[in-house]
Amino acid sequence: MTGWITLGVLLLLLVAVIIYTIIIYNGFIALKNTIIQDWSNIDVLLKQRYDELPKLIKVCEGYMQHEQKTLEAVVKARSMVNSARTDEQQLQAQNMLTDTLKSLFMVVERYPDLKADAGFRQLSYRITEIEDQIADRRELYNASVTIYNTRLGQFPDLVIANMFKFQPSTLWMIDPEHRQDVTVSFATG
């Protein structure tokens, strides 16, 4: 009788292990898709930013006659985004666009009339809002990747991951230049 009971319990445990394996496997698949989705969701916002730029440049052109270089840099960065073929090129172009936009908003400080323009204010607010959202979604992407990578290294998920050859995913990294300390000079001219 004990043998039968043991056998029954072992069978139950086996079924439990199989079901648990399925849950873990499905979890990995869901996580991988979440990572892809999170990345695509960043692209959605990047596209929104890309679409807003011509309107911003148009507004700025009327006021910033002496800042053609800055405006041209933004236009150039935008066209680079459009012509990027690989993920790396795309990432580089987006980073460049972010940098040129920052420069543009810094230069705007010299043009009070432009700052007072309702259209400009709305557009700049909208772009800043998108920038914030992009930052949030990058964090979300990194959070998804971290969960996935952590699962890959944890037991018992580790066994299933090795069995089905799940590979670690890469975190979104910022441009190394942005890690450098900002140098502030108080020297007068």
């Binding site: 079901i19 979440t34 914030d132 949030d136």
Partner: protein, 668 residues
């Protein structure tokens, strides 16, 4: 209970200065729960703050007196007799003789009388309480106005009024009491004042007694004050039990009011704050002879009924002025926004899981009933015996435990595998958000009337074996709410979700607020509540909301219609200046209006993008979980799921072992 002293407080309509500090003091010194103390001290009437040994209550009383809170410390006298019902009365210059069934009760003019007038149907108390709570729920406590200024007396008289007279001796002890039912007594004793209207006769009798007494008080707060044993049940005309209950409550109330009159309030009225005097209780002031005046003022002045009504009008008007003055104070508080009424509550959502569970239980129950109907009790016994002896029943339970164990495990992993999104950047699809719950609608719990974002109300009834059985479940599934984090706000639609509320309350029908005095009931309710402002975890599916409002075409049509009715603007499009708009000019106008409307719409949309709650809602999608949980951390939540899953899986293993053992034993 009769050995205990009662501490009764005059409630404040609004929190006075340093109120929170005072609540903390009550807790630190006397271990009085801060939440309950707040509930008892704020309101528009009287409330029992505490009950206990005399020494302990004296200490609490001293704390209240320190902060000049008007209160009474009494050793209540249990009612030793009920008021006798009168059938008629005779009046003379020196006395009023009430004719009861077997005896007469004599009131010598110049004596002291305490009258209690109440609507014993409980309807008025319900109505006033609901009105006050609705005002609180819709506009916040600060916005509760003294809208009940209409003469309450006539409101009671229009209900199902009953009038009690308590005749008191010089030391305010009750010597006799009579009860008057309108239309059930001979009004001849009123003389010329007698009319065909039973309610007017009641009013006339009230006036007669008042005029004949040297000290008179009228109390009409029954059902509104939070006093022990003085709650009213909603009673239909044929509901004799409820009516009897209410009349008993009225007797207790009368005796308690006599106690309060005898003891007088602490601190004395003259010690009281001026500010407080200008801010009398809504019901205490409104409902005739205010209890603040109970001890001291009434002794000094004989309050007449007509003067009394004038006093009420003056007091409430003064109060209104005081309130309006305080509202126009320098800080000029903006009026609290009025929340819309919530959609009607719904019976608990019938999800697929619940349908299957109900079907399984229903099927089992029907089979059982069928077997009983054919009177084959032997067969029933045999089925029960064999299903257990063969291990079939434990096996079914093992399978169910196994299923639910893994279900909880799957939910746990889903929570762990979903990163938390910020609300401002939320994307469509499965999302996890955390934040503070805020009401979208003026939702209050149906029984305890607490402002909340979600409630689940379960009603229980005692069965033959004296066990509580759930008879109905109602939820606020249809009422969405908002979740707010540092970055924005989003709408949550809880229908079909698994909601884990952190607050539970139980009570009995007829109970007011959280105060419970009577536990001898056959029905009870339990509320699970998510109170506004609590931190919530939400895992659900974010989707776009259906756009409301006019289409672009409708907006253009409206704008063109407006243009047609505005000759001045229309003149701008009269390009040839002939005073008429020709077809070409109208086309130009139309094109311009279209462009204008389109730009306005785009502008509006780009502004709307900033408000996530306007265009995204998190809810349930078929096949995907929606979890709304009041929890301080995600780990705590997943820990609950893990423990439940582990328990169920362990149980299923044990049940399986037992079922195999039973099966083998059965086969042998």
């Amino acid at each position: 209970m009769s050995q205990d002293s009662l501490l009764i407080v005059q409630q404040y309509p609004q929190p006075p200065e340093r109120f929170e500090g005072f609540l903390r003091l009550l807790f630190e010194r006397h271990q009085l729960d801060m939440f309950q103390s707040r509930q008892r001290l704020l309101g528009r009437s009287l409330a029992q703050l505490a009950q206990g040994g005399r020494t302990e209550m004296e200490k609490v009383s001293a704390t209240l007196a320190e902060s000049a809170y008007v209160h009474w410390l009494i050793d209540p006298i249990s009612p030793t007799f009920s008021p006798k019902r009168i059938y008629g009365f005779e009046t003379s210059s020196s006395q009023v003789v009430f004719a009861c069934r077997q005896e007469e009760v004599v009131f010598s003019k110049g004596g002291t009388v305490l009258a209690v007038l109440a609507d014993v149907s409980g309807g008025l108390a319900d109505k006033l309480m609901a009105r006050m709570l609705a005002g609180n729920a819709y506009r916040g406590r600060d916005a509760v106005r003294h809208e009940d200024q209409q003469p309450l007396l006539s409101m009671i008289l229009q209900g199902q009024p009953v009038l009690d007279f308590y005749l008191l001796d010089d030391s305010k002890k009750i010597t006799a009491a009579v009860r008057v039912f309108p239309g059930r007594f001979n009004p001849e004793g009123l003389g010329e004042a007698a009319t065909l209207s039973s309610r007017k006769n009641l009013e006339a009798l009230l006036r007669l007694m008042e005029e004949g007494s040297v000290a008179f008080q009228l109390h009409t707060e029954l059902g509104l004050a939070l006093l022990p044993g003085c709650q009213l049940r909603r009673a239909d005309k044929n509901d004799q039990d409820a009516l009897r209950h209410n009349l008993n409550g009225m007797t207790r109330y009368g005796w308690l009011m006599a106690d309060l009159w005898r003891h007088g309030s602490l601190p004395r009225k003259s010690d009281n704050r001026e500010g407080q005097a200008a801010e009398p209780s809504l019901l205490g002031t409104l409902l005739a002879s205010p209890l603040l005046a109970a001890g001291e003022l009434a002794e000094d002045t004989q309050v007449g009924l007509h003067p009394l009504m004038n006093e009420i009008a003056t007091a409430t008007a003064g109060n209104d002025n005081a309130l309006s003055a305080s509202r126009e104070a320098p800080e000029q508080r903006a009026p609290a926004p009025m929340l819309p009424a919530p959609p009607p509550s719904a019976p608990a959502a019938w999800t697929a899981r619940r349908i299957w569970t109900a079907a399984a239980f229903g099927g089992g129950f029907l089979s059982f009933m069928l077997l009983l109907m054919v009177d084959q009790s032997d067969l029933v016994d045999q089925i029960a015996y064999h299903s257990i002896a063969s291990g079939a029943a434990p096996f079914v339970l093992a399978v169910l435990s196994f299923y639910y164990g893994f279900y909880h495990l799957r939910i746990k992993r889903k929570i762990e595998n979903t990163p938390t999104s910020r609300i401002r950047s939320i994307a469509m699809g499965m999302v996890e958000v955390k934040g503070k719950a805020l009401r979208k609608y003026a939702l209050v719990t149906p029984m305890s009337h607490m402002p909340c974002v979600y409630y689940r109300l379960t009603r229980y009834r005692k069965d033959k074996n004296d066990r509580w059985q759930a008879v109905s479940v109602t939820t606020s599934d249809n009422a969405s709410f908002f979740l707010e984090d540092d970055t924005g706000r989003i709408e949550i639609h809880p229908a079909g979700g698994r909601v884990r509320a952190g607050t539970r309350q139980e009570g009995f029908p007829g109970q007011i607020g959280l105060t419970r005095f009577d536990s001898d009931q056959t029905e009870k309710w339990q509320e699970e509540i998510i109170i506004e402002g609590t931190l919530l975890y939400v895992l659900g599916f974010a989707a776009g909301k259906q756009e409301e409002g006019d289409t672009l075409r409708e907006e253009v049509q409206t704008a063109l219609r407006d243009l047609k009715h505005d000759p001045q603007r229309l003149q701008e499009f009269d390009l040839d200046g002939d005073g008429e708009i020709c077809v070409d000019e109208w086309d130009v106008a139309r094109a311009q209006i279209e462009e204008q409307v389109y730009h306005q719409r785009m502008m509006k949309r780009s502004q709307q993008r900033r408000r996530q709650e306007d265009h995204i809602v998190i809810g349930q999608q078929p096949g995907r979980p929606l979890i709304i949980a009041e929890t301080h951390s995600e780990t705590h939540l997943t820990g609950n799921y893990r423990n439940t899953a582990a328990g169920l899986l362990l149980l299923s293993t044990m049940l399986l072992g037992a079922s195999i053992y039973l099966l083998l034993d059965y086969l042998n």
